[in-house]
């Protein structure tokens, strides 16, 4: 036998604890692996989808006028020198239904009108099944495969356009497209249809909003010059790369939060590994004393411990990487099902496997360093004393843990995917600091908190609760670190829930603020305002209606010129209904200025970026025309989403008509009469929308829809947080088991004095539950601090409603902590109760 084999034997002697330690490392490594793979899958999917949207096209020429390009304009584009193919794209919203009957379904889709003859030259959407659009089958349409599956539709099923011309034929699904590429638009709620058929089915033709151009290599400059010279209609040119980047920016990125949770799992794992190795030292102190007395050098003792740590590290990292691949597959499957994030494939690269494995190894190696050093310093005389206790003091052990956790955090930050994250590095650093700081504070606050939190348990369990509470103070650093690990996992749950709730509040506030009365109707295409006004104002229960007429314009001059979106509204309707929140400017003055003309309300992001304040003047106009001055009357907290990333600049409808010749609007905001029931009003609006083949919008439903999408994504992180919680629970089980073994004699004494098996179990379970309660209390504070960092520091502009604290969430998390800890205490409780009194007492004599 070699001395080194003691490391193996030490591991084999405690199979449960060894398995838990390896499991702790493995879970941390697995989550990091899975998030890296899923992040890679998301990046790949976004790139591929963006690529497929443009296909072979090099340029996308977008019509500036909402009415789109005229047929003449499209012909001009097609004939430009250097252009080998020009594919027009018409966009409109459609309300469709399945065939009438008991199972009839109605849904809104974004219809993309395409020309099948040229489409094959530009892009080939990936088909899951069926065939592409073809000239010979004009009623054939393509829908996204997942959407079809969710609506129990398949190839051959027929769809009817609501509001179609009387003799228009039904459309028929001929192919199902992949969820990436064109199928990724509008979260899969998209219909690819023959443009000519679309125009033949409806009274109004669908505007050609863009034409994608395939050009001969090296002719981009010439094509650009020819565009300027020959295309008389206003247009905007985007390269395929610009369009792809714009698409990618619009996609939800989950990478930063996912990676943060990977780090959280690693931090929890590091706590537990450090704790376990320290516990091993305590248990093997006498053995070390014997070895040292027999002449084993300190260096040899270090070798035993480091070897043991490395065995844990290698086993945990390998297991973690393998489990991480499986977890990644599950995460990717889940993300695909939510459609909240674009993901594709299971990309396994060397780096995505090596980084987490190395992280696991380094964490374990560092975690084993201090116990190894302590073991080497142990004097044989001290170690062989019956009352010998191992380990450093609380302060020393915590210093070492803080250093270890800082190391993990720094390595994590070094590989953190900031490039696609909206959360600032300051927020991430703060969040990590709160988590680690909170966990370390757990050791210091353990006893005072135990005195307070333990009271109800003492009251309920009596002596068992009192002893359970007192046991927590036996090894403050061990218990503190165990609570710390639990606290981090629970804090992640609190932080996630709070961030989600804050996002929900922001969504609700945003939707409510831009929709006066909380209701609107979205038309398939912009329609004449004067023609449609009576339809809306005469809808039963409607007190007032305002069109929201969106149109493009430009600001800036020369090379600084850029496209913006404007929306004409009826200021009185919005003002009277209390809609639109201003972050700067007097409300009454601002609305008066809009009514007087020559004034605008600008979105807050635009004001911030361009350094604009209330009272400033900006020039707005159409391309090629002279810009007209507008005074900034107010700065909006929220505005209507528009083509411009900042959202729409608002002006009065009169200005839109007089200065930009706007006569149509695609959205109408409706304000209900006082006293009308919400159900009756909703019914009336629904009837009007149906008669116009339009889509009714409800603020509450819109906010819920946004929240649902967010909830699905948050659900994934909740699962990751619960995995971290499971690791922490394993840590509790581990620590309590060691505690029970250490005080076996005391338990036997208690039993000899008449403590029943049930009382012993209650003592250990109450110890665990008090530990969970302390973790829960600290997690509430720390979780809120982490949420504050992510919401207020990290992305204040994404969470304009501020931090929303949900009491049910906090109470649930606290109870979760108590419950999980109590369950983790069941095994040690059983172990404690099952110890034979006589042999235990004999053992210690």
């Amino acid at each position: 036998m070699q001395l080194g084999s003691l490391a193996w034997r030490g591991i084999a002697a405690r199979p449960l604890r060894s398995a838990l330690t390896i499991g702790s490392i493995a879970v941390g490594v697995a989550i990091v692996t899975a998030t890296l793979i899923a992040n890679q899958a998301s990046g790949d999917a976004v790139r591929r989808a963006a690529q497929e949207l443009l296909g072979n096209a090099t340029l996308r020429v977008r019509a500036f006028d909402p009415a789109g390009f005229t047929p003449r304009g499209v012909t001009t584009l097609r004939r430009l020198p250097g252009v080998t193919a020009a594919a027009p794209v018409g966009e409109r919203r459609l309300t469709l239904s399945t065939l009438p009957g008991a199972d009839e379904q109605v849904f809104g889709l974004l219809a993309l009108g395409l020309d099948p003859a040229v489409e094959s030259l530009v892009r080939q959407p990936r088909l899951v099944s069926g065939s592409p659009l073809s000239e010979g089958d004009p009623t054939g349409v393509l829908v996204a495969a997942r959407w079809a599956s969710e609506h129990r539709l398949g190839i051959g099923d027929q769809l009817l356009i609501v509001g179609r011309l009387p003799d228009a034929p039904a459309l028929r699904i001929v192919g199902l497209i992949d969820d990436l590429g064109l199928g990724a638009l509008e979260r899969g709620e998209v219909l690819l249809v023959d443009r000519a058929q679309l125009d033949a089915s409806l009274a109004n033709p669908t505007p050609v909003s863009a034409v994608d151009l395939v050009i001969e290599p090296g002719t981009a400059g010439a094509v650009g010059a020819a565009l300027d010279a020959q295309l008389a209609e206003p247009f905007v040119v985007e390269t395929a790369a610009d369009a792809a980047a714009r698409f990618a920016r619009a996609q939800t990125s989950f990478a930063p939060i996912a990676f943060l949770f990977g780090l959280v799992a690693m931090i929890v794992g590091a706590f537990l590994v450090a704790n376990t190795l320290a516990m091993t030292l305590t248990e093997r102190l006498r053995e070390i004393g014997l070895l040292r007395a027999a002449g084993t050098t300190g260096r040899q003792v270090v070798g035993i411990f480091v070897r043991q740590g490395l065995i844990f590290g290698v086993a945990g990292s390998i297991t973690g990487v393998v489990a991480g691949i499986g977890l990644a597959a599950l995460m990717i499957g889940f993300l695909r099902s939510t459609r909240a994030v674009l993901v594709d494939g299971l990309p396994i690269g060397l780096a995505t496997l090596l980084i987490p494995a190395l992280l696991g190894l380094v964490v374990t190696a560092v975690a084993s360093a201090v116990p190894a050093w302590q073991a080497a310093q142990t004097s044989p005389l001290v170690a062989l004393r019956p009352s010998a206790r191992a380990g450093a003091g609380l302060g020393q052990r915590l210093r070492w843990i803080v250093l270890l956790e800082l190391g993990v955090a720094l390595v994590g930050l070094a590989v953190y995917p900031f490039e696609r994250g909206a959360t600032s590095i300051a927020a991430v650093v703060l969040a990590l600091a709160f988590l680690v700081g909170g966990a370390v504070a757990a050791a210091w606050l353990l006893l005072p908190l135990a005195r307070v939190v333990g009271r109800p348990f003492e009251w309920f369990f009596g002596a068992e609760g009192m002893l359970g509470r007192a046991n927590l103070g036996r090894d403050r650093s061990r218990t503190g670190l165990t609570v710390g690990a639990l606290m981090i996992a629970l804090a992640a749950v609190v932080a996630l829930g709070t961030v989600a709730d804050s996002a929900r509040q922001t969504a609700a506030r945003w939707v409510a603020s831009v929709l006066p009365g909380g209701t609107a109707i979205r038309l398939a295409l912009p329609e004449e305002i004067d023609l449609f006004r009576p339809t809306f104002t005469q809808t039963p229960g409607v007190a007032a209606a305002s069109p929201v007429a969106e149109f493009p314009a430009v600001v800036g001059e020369g090379s600084a010129v850029r496209e913006v979106s404007l929306a004409g509204i009826d200021p009185t309707v919005f003002q009277d209904a209390g809609a639109l929140l201003l972050v700067d400017g007097n409300r009454a003055t601002a609305f008066n200025a809009l009514r007087d003309g020559g004034a605008v309300l600008i979105p807050e992001p635009m004001a911030r970026r361009d350094g604009l304040a209330v009272g400033d003047t900006i020039g707005i106009g159409t391309p090629g025309a002279e810009l007209q001055p507008y005074r900034v009357a107010g700065i909006l907290e929220y505005t209507f989403p528009a083509r411009s990333p900042d959202g729409a600049i608002l002006l009065s409808l009169a200005d839109a008509a007089d200065r930009f010749a706007v006569t149509t609007a695609g959205l109408w905001a409706l304000v209900p009469e006082r006293g009308i029931s919400q159900a009756a009003f909703r019914q009336a609006v629904g009837d009007t929308a149906q008669s116009l083949a339009a889509e009714p919008l409800d603020a509450t439903e819109l906010a819920s829809e946004l929240a649902r999408s967010l909830d699905r994504l948050i659900g994934l992180f909740d699962v990751l947080a619960l995995v971290a919680l499971a690791v922490a629970a394993a840590g509790i089980l581990n620590a309590l088991t060691v505690g029970v073994v250490e005080r076996a004699r005391e338990i036997a004494i208690l039993r000899s004095h008449g403590m029943t098996v049930g009382q012993v179990q209650a003592m250990v379970v109450s110890e665990a539950a008090i530990l969970g309660a302390i973790g829960g209390v600290l997690a509430v504070g720390t979780g809120l601090a982490v949420a504050w960092a992510m919401v207020v520091v990290g992305a204040p502009r994404d969470f304009t409603a501020g931090l929303s604290v949900s009491w049910p969430l906090l109470i649930t998390t606290f109870l979760l902590g108590v419950g999980v800890a109590a369950v983790a205490g069941l095994y040690p409780a059983r172990l404690a109760a099952g110890q034979p009194i006589v042999s235990t007492l004999k053992h210690f004599e």
Partner: protein, 249 residues
């Protein structure tokens, strides 16, 4: 002496050992009267500690019976045996086995706490016991602040707390120096003499056994000899040592 408070009949205790078994007790019997101080002596491995564990209901005999204060503990299940132990016995062990997290007073009150009472309910009784063992001034101290003798005195006070039918002491002086051990034995004797506490003491030390009224000698798993000493205030061991020598011990 008055009526019997403890009676063991034909106790057999076997332990599994490898593929076979070891018989620790082979039909041992004894009886102890209320208020009596009995010492069990015997060479190592004779079964005296096993006997004490069975008498205290810490373990169940393979066969035979143990009746404590009218209750046949050998016929009870684990839970009932625990409750009987709680109500009728007190233990003092060689290692003092105090709960380090509890104060001296809380350690003494432990049997009450285990029974579901609060320490406050028994404050006077705890104070009385601490006075009895001479530790009234250290009620709030922690066990690790006490000397070995003081710790054993706390353990004794704890064992006496519920006025048990019988106090069982397993080598209570085995871990103490002579002077400190004598103090503990004096306290035991005093509790028996003044308070009428029944005591069964297991020891291999004749000087400790000399405090007893009667010494029972266990050999090869059964009670082979009885040495009556009577209640004596001087505790002189000479007579006992001579009798033990005569028995070859």
């Amino acid at each position: 002496m008055s009526a019997l408070i403890l009676e063991a009949r034909d106790l057999v205790k076997t332990y599994p050992a490898g593929s076979g078994s070891v018989e620790a007790l082979r039909g041992a019997s004894l009886s102890v009267a209320r208020g009596e101080f009995v010492a069990l002596m015997g060479p190592s491995g004779s079964g005296k500690s096993t006997m004490l564990q069975l008498l205290g209901g810490l373990d169940a005999p393979t066969s035979g019976s143990v009746v404590i204060d009218g209750v046949d503990v050998s016929a009870l299940d684990e839970e009932q045996r625990t409750l009987t132990r709680r109500a009728k016995t007190g233990f003092v062990f060689q290692f003092f086995n105090l709960i380090p997290l509890l104060s001296v007073a809380e350690n003494v009150a432990l049997p009450f706490l285990i029974a579901g009472d609060s320490a406050a309910q028994h404050r006077d009784r705890v104070a009385e016991l601490l006075g009895l063992v001479g530790l009234a001034a250290k009620a709030d101290a922690r066990p690790d602040e006490l000397s070995a003798g003081e710790q054993q005195r706390v353990a004794l006070a704890r064992a006496l707390a519920t006025e048990p039918a019988i106090l069982l002491a397993d080598e209570p002086t085995g871990n103490l120096d002579y002077t400190t051990g004598a103090e503990i034995l004096a306290l035991l004797w005093d509790s028996c003499d003044r308070l009428g506490q029944t005591i069964v003491l297991v020891t291999h030390d004749a000087r400790a056994a000399a405090y007893a009224d009667r010494v029972l000698v266990i050999r090869d798993g059964s009670v082979r000899d009885e040495i009556p000493l009577g209640r004596r205030a001087d505790h002189a061991p000479a007579v006992l040592i001579r009798r033990l020598a005569a028995l070859g011990l």
